[in-house]
Amino acid sequence: MPKLAPLTKLILTAAVSVWALLIPTLTGQMALAAGQLLLLAFYRPTGKHWQAVSGLALFAALLAAIQYVFGSGLEFSLMSGLKMFVMSLVFVFMLATTRLQDLTAALVSQCRIPYEYAFMFTSALRFVPDFLEESQAVREAQACRGYVFRGNPLKRLMDYVAIVEPLVLRAVSRSETMAMSLELRGFGRKGRRQFTADVALSSPDYVAMIFMLVLTIGLAIV
């Protein structure tokens, strides 16, 4: 499978949503879903991603069932379930096949999103594992001091404050350190940013984009 640039995948995400809205028939939607699954399979995703796909499928089925139960027609229910599946599947495809940092690089250098916003996004993700680890540590520390997380939900919720407070304090001191270190490393410096990720477009990208354009126009006309 040719390697597509992150920008192409971003455009594909938008295009698939448009197609899902344009395609009027059930078979068409099913073809779109099948096409995406096929495409995903070509990129050999991990088990985790297949799990996400089946989760989405389940959710879509549930959505259709609920609509049907509440009196919508069968075709309409199936149609909205499928639409939702098709539109969300493309995000799984994008996230499964693109590194986040490449996505950031594409957003900044090709979509002209200000670097600060894109940076905020990736660095937030960078701190998720640390944050989980810390909340575990705080919980253990509080347990050592005899804190028991039991009882009715309200009491448990109140107990959580005991965890949240140290976590928030830690997060504040962390962001302080980070701000300091960013300044020390020339974050605010003006000048063109040379990303290490290579997100340039190549011929498969142009082919894919032409294909998407033709398909969109075709669907819009018929």
Binding site: F119, R174, M180, S181, R193, Q194, F195
Partner: protein
């Protein structure tokens, strides 16, 4: 030649009392300077004054001046100072902002005007220096404490600063990890970098320190080489506990026997000298018998 020069420098945070009081201190080029002292003495603040974080980031009031490589910190920006000074903060984990090891190191170079292959080359050089070669694609979150510490060092080394300032670089590490970091700093020091570390466990820096600075309650108590400083600390009841156990033995021996022993930088050195001493003692006893 002085890398850093404090001249009657005083400083107070925006909402604190005076935390550094009339500091006059020279840090020579190529030295391995250790800042030590009790908790709250102002060690971190002094280190941050070299990097320009104090006063540029915090604000506050300052008196006197700090010169870094000939430029006055108050008159230049943190960015300009960063070209000369690489800083590893005490909370080095929060200093790491990228997802992977290679990106972390590349981060400081992204606006430097280098192209992609130049950046990649410098990144792998820096990682090689700190012993993390081959981990380029690893996620930062999955590294061990010692590896993160090395990564933080690589990330500042990549911009080739002349001075490295590190605040308690081994605080979160086990003894081997700590020794590893200090050996790395020693290597960098031998390659010509001026190294300034804050460290309250002096035992860790005995083999490497060329200058030891003692702070207490914001004042400079003493600055000198290892022997001078430890002898001074030994005389001060409040600082005595900061003397490493090995030197406590040496200084006690010297006090009790009037002998003059060498500078014990390593345990081997101490052991050799003690062996020699006991041998001459035994010979003396044998002769007199």
């Amino acid at each position: 030649m002085m890398a850093v020069n404090f001249e009657h420098f005083s400083y107070a945070y925006p909402n604190s009392g005076v935390v550094l009081d009339d500091i006059t201190l020279d840090i020579p080029v190529g030295s391995f300077t250790v800042i030590t002292g009790p908790s709250g003495a102002g060690k971190t603040s002094l280190a941050l004054a070299i990097t320009g974080v104090v006063p540029h980031y915090f604000g506050g009031r300052q008196g006197g001046a700090v010169q870094i490589g000939g430029i006055t910190s108050a008159q230049s920006s943190m960015g300009e100072l960063a070209e000369q000074v690489g800083t590893v903060l005490a909370d080095y984990e929060s200093q790491l902002v990228a997802l992977t090891v290679a990106e972390e190191v590349a981060f400081g170079l992204e606006t430097s005007g280098f192209n992609r292959s130049q950046i990649a080359e410098r990144v792998s050089q820096a990682l090689m220096l700190v012993g993390l070669a081959g981990l380029e694609e690893r996620e930062v979150a999955g590294l061990s404490g010692g590896q993160k510490q090395r990564l933080a060092i690589a990330a500042v080394l990549v911009t080739a600063p002349d001075i490295l300032v590190l605040d308690e670089p081994a605080s979160a590490l086990d003894p081997e990890g700590a020794a590893g970091i200090y050996e790395l700093l020693h290597t960098l020091n031998c390659q010509g970098k001026t190294v300034v570390v804050v460290e309250h466990q002096l035992a860790r820096v005995l083999p490497y320190a060329s200058q030891v600075v003692v702070l207490q309650a914001g004042s400079l108590q003493f600055a000198g080489d290892l022997r001078q400083t430890l002898a001074f600390m030994w005389q001060q009841p409040e600082l005595r506990l900061g003397v490493p156990p090995m030197w406590a033995i040496k200084l006690t021996l010297e006090e009790q026997t009037g002998l003059s022993l060498g500078d014990w930088k390593t345990e081997e050195q101490a052991a050799t000298e003690l062996n020699k001493l006991t041998r001459t003692c035994a010979e003396g006893v044998a002769k007199s018998a």
